[in-house]
Subunit: 343 residues, 2 copies
């Protein structure tokens, strides 16, 4: 449930918050209602993109909170995996602006019985995740919780030239890294009491934020607009659409579905790939032909697929499009965490 | 319950974590056990001081989590006050390194019924607090909580030359801003079901982080070691002591006790002033005579008292000292939040 709402996505750009539709985002818009903050030379990107970017050198910042019973369950994951996942979700926001990680701060609220060993193992998982992408554990806070375990991870990175959500133009291609729906397939199995497919479980328990992949692409000036996939392709493409002022036209047959998320029913498979959250892949727009010369080098360097899944068009919203260019609704809304009610 | 543990409090200083004794800090040391992170040119101050400081320009960062039933109760405070307090506690860490605030990121976990209006009011309080010290609301996260309201605030500031905890030397004077124990007096009254003294309640509900005061003092090179008072003077002086490798010798008759915290019993009054947390005043060491020339100007500029409360000496720990220089234990341990058990 990422928010990071936006007042002015560019330096001194007085544009209002440009977020996709949805109840959560309506609330965020309300948080930021009232007079916009004065123009500040020390805030280059305000709330609303994947990270805020501050200070002259471009320091990218984002925060992501994980709550037991909403984002994870202890009977599904080891303590270290809970920490890794929480940190990876936040680090994925650094990937989304193509920042180089400096480190993370971790706040942990733990029930009294878990404030010792268990908390240390959660923290070890956070640390392992940030070190896997070249960052450090910078500090944190530890407090008691009278309820669920709560982990809030703030990421800090260098982004002298941050990649934003707002640069897609009609006609450009839309690309994604990796394969989608694996994490959702694991959650479906766990909710049904089944052992998940091991590859799907790995996608859920140890997601790999595409930090280095994003820097690689950005260094070659490939993405014109970039976002990470935390809420599912349908939901996150809607953020690119809203921020860029274009429609996103997805070709369903081109969407790379994780092997563990594939079913006989194409509709169910697509639903996992588009509506399933927490894949932490990248989605970006690029000028026609811009990816081509680098496609093989990228896949060889990272052992991660790179797939064109459609293009940007005039208008707004996210649509399926057929070979003749006819648009139809995807019928898929963004990812809802499994903890729909109070457990 | 501030932690922000420390591996290397100076650039390339491989010293181990130097925190005051205590169970919480033992746990923090464990989080940071194992090989120290490699020396990083982008981490100038690691975990352990009041803020981490990163990047070439010196970006100060800290995070502080507030949990319903542990740090606040909703029947004691309005939603805006809960937000203000949470943000002020975090902003006080910027004061503790004499940073200039850029802004805050706020993560909020709220029960479903409170995710609308109530959450927006909490966020408005956070925003008001950061704007009161010249910073901006930069972003955040909003999620559901199946339990208590949880607010995590990460502060970001500029500190090209951060004030640390580690520079006090034997013989130097120890100073505090403001008057201590007001917040603790309010909590005592609330716990007893009494209406708190209005001035004490204001100290509890709307603490003023001493951000500008710290910058003023630091600009004049007055503090040799600086900390903010979140856990009470006895506990926070112990951090200065541990980080600087000196003893802190308090003269009990010099300690400025908030009028609402004064009682006939001098012992009880002192206990509030030394053991009561959440005053969010500053405590710093200074060379003998360094404060004198600026004393009146400071008090006139900020309408805040500045009091010499003792001095640093050889050895370690925090002690009461009499006119003859004899040391005796304070008998006061750090602040425990009122929510001692699960409510």
């Amino acid at each position: 449930m990422r928010t990071d709402p936006s007042i002015h996505p560019r330096p001194h750009d007085p544009a209002p918050v440009r977020l996709a539709p949805g109840g959560e985002f309506d609330l965020i818009r309300r948080f930021l209602a009232g007079p916009a903050p004065a123009e500040r030379p020390d805030v280059r990107v305000g709330p609303g993109d994947d990270c805020a970017v501050v200070a002259g050198d471009g320091i990218a910042l984002s925060t992501d909170m994980s709550v037991e019973g909403v984002h994870f369950r202890r009977d599904w994951l080891a303590a270290e995996e809970i920490g890794w996942r929480a940190a990876a979700a936040a680090l994925s926001d650094l990937a989304a602006v193509a920042a180089r990680p400096i480190g993370i701060l971790v706040s942990l609220a733990a029930p009294p019985d878990d404030a010792g060993d268990y908390a240390a193992r959660v923290m070890a998982g956070c640390r392992e995740a940030v070190e896997s992408v070249g960052g450090a554990l910078l500090g944190g806070d530890l407090t008691r919780s009278p309820g669920p375990l709560v982990i809030d991870v703030t990421v800090v990175g260098e982004a002298p030239r941050p990649a934003l959500r707002s640069g897609a133009r009609p006609g450009q291609e839309l690309w994604v890294t990796g394969e989608l729906g694996g994490s959702a397939a694991a959650v479906e199995a766990l909710l049904a009491g089944r052992e998940p497919n091991p590859a799907a479980r790995e996608r859920f328990a140890r997601p790999r934020p595409r930090v280095r992949e994003a820097q690689w692409l950005h260094a070659r000036n490939i993405p014109t607009a970039l976002v990470d996939l935390s809420d599912g392709l349908a939901g996150d493409a809607a953020h690119l659409s809203a921020a860029s002022g274009v429609a996103m036209l997805l070709a369903p047959e081109l969407i790379p579905i994780h092997p563990a998320a594939r079913e006989r029913s194409k509709v169910r498979s697509l639903r996992r790939a588009l509506g399933g959250g927490e894949d932490y892949e990248l989605c970006f727009a690029a000028a026609v032909g811009a990816v081509g010369p680098f496609h093989t080098a990228f896949e060889q360097a990272f052992q991660v697929r790179l797939s064109c899944v459609g293009r940007a068009g005039g208008g707004d919203g996210v649509w399926f499009v057929d070979a003749e260019g006819h648009r139809r609704p995807t019928g898929i809304v963004g990812w809802q965490h499994f903890g729909g009610g109070t457990p």
